[in-house]
Symmetry: C2
Subunit: 283 residues, 2 copies
């Protein structure tokens, strides 16, 4: 008992220390807690976790995209009218457009036959009419015609693909990479970058405003003039390509499209598309 009682001050000291530690760790947790509840408050109780994907991950972006709230209230409005086609004409035009698009395929056999620059310009002007949250138009199209830059782009992609493939499927990458040569041959490489965040005059970042799904895909525009391409989002290459193309830090690669006329020996996988009934539900 004597021993114990002599140790008493030590016990008390230990208690104080332990309490201190606990208080500290609690403060940490409560900070974390705040952050978590902040995130939670964005998602709703009934949100179905199976469905949480990118669309949930950049809520700010979606939010800004909600066209009904993005724009400055004070901006003047002008009257709008569109061509009012007859029913027959509407059906004809929609059918012809479907037929044009139904012939479009992703083609990797692209010739180096030069394509008039004016066509590329018109295609990019057309892509630039895409809707964007609060009309921020946060996109950049890089058109690469310099053979050395094309080759460097292909090399960067091959290096990254090699790493990805080795991680995932061993030797197979060697065969697959042979297919990347078409990047050099293509008349143009077009890289679409998104401004991930804008800059306010005061230098502060502004939330990103582009919902990628809104960017009009140039594939239609090329199909319309008899050019072919294949959309690709090279895995992990974005930042290196951004540096190669001397684009600012706030721009991120969305898509890489080699563009040109199909080569004489072009082939595509023999695929059919789902019938309308498999993709459309009417209520």
């Amino acid at each position: 008992m004597e021993l114990f009682s002599s140790l008493t001050p030590v016990f008390i000291a230990i208690i104080c220390v332990l309490i201190g530690i606990i208080l500290k760790s609690n403060r940490k947790n409560s900070k974390k807690g705040k952050r978590e509840t902040k995130n939670k408050s964005e998602s709703r109780p009934w949100v179905d976790d199976d469905l949480r994907d990118s669309t949930d991950l950049h809520v700010e972006e979606e939010d800004a995209d909600g066209d009904w709230q993005g724009l400055d209230e004070n901006i003047a409005h002008v009257s709008f009218s569109a061509e009012h086609y007859s029913e027959g004409e509407m059906i004809k035009r929609s059918k012809e457009f479907y037929e044009l698009l139904s012939k479009r395929r992703s083609v990797r056999f692209i010739s180096d036959e030069p394509v008039p620059r004016e066509v590329i310009n018109n295609v990019i002007k057309a892509a630039g009419t895409s809707p964007s949250g609060a009309h921020t138009e946060p996109w950049t199209f890089v058109v690469v015609q310099d053979p050395e830059v094309k080759q460097r782009i292909r090399e960067i992609i091959e290096e990254e693909e090699e790493i990805n493939y080795k991680k995932r499927m061993g030797d197979r990458w060697v065969n697959d990479l042979k297919r990347l040569r078409y990047l050099d041959y293509s008349s143009y490489l077009i890289l679409i970058l998104k401004q991930v965040y804008g800059m306010l005059p005061n230098g502060q970042r502004r939330t990103p405003l582009l919902n990628e799904i809104m960017l009009l895909p140039v594939v239609i525009l090329f199909a319309n003039v008899g050019l072919v391409t294949v959309t690709s989002t090279p895995l992990n290459c974005g930042p290196r390509l951004r540096v190669l193309l001397q684009r600012p830090k706030n721009e991120k690669l969305l898509l890489l499209l080699p563009v040109g006329y199909p080569s004489k020996d072009a082939t595509v996988p023999d695929l059919t598309r789902k019938p309308l009934d498999d993709i459309m539900v009417v209520m």
Copy 2:
């Protein structure tokens, strides 16, 4: 001293309890730590953290989208050719397409004048020609014409918007929500859903294969027939709308588009688009 020593067992008990608490909280933190490092390992050393957005977040999806690796090696190939237009014709077609799209605007003033179903069908067939990783075509288009379903959709969005707005901008939501009435009036509401993951015959999940940017936006297709729409991604409404539309758990709402003829009194914000030089870089 006597008092203290008699209290000694109490002190010891307290110490044990406190130690217990500390150990517990430490275990929590170390779990958190593991999760964090796991996420880190997915990013590449040189990846530029400013640029980590959705495109990085679903690497699997991008990866599968790389058209050059998605498809079954054994599928037969067929030869492909496209219309080879003269330069003049290409320039003309690309210019006309640009002019068509440059007239397209996001319009919220939509009349309830009925639109022929065949036009909607053709538009959705056209959208269904979008490229998708490994040709999975993981999309569903829900066409809503039932006025009660339209109204219910508007109510769900208003409920969610009210919550979002109150969180962010106080009373302003009231004014903004008035604008949502057009959802009821529109001839059709079209909801585009993405199959977030597929199901293998053995019931296992398959990685999602759609890169959203590849989905051909129906806005062009409607513009082509003189119809108007406004793309929106209602914040947090996805799961409730999915349930309302009786869609399976693996489908996620990407876009909601009210569609119809512009109403007589339609107006749009008086905006101009960036000139080509602001969005295009040539190397």
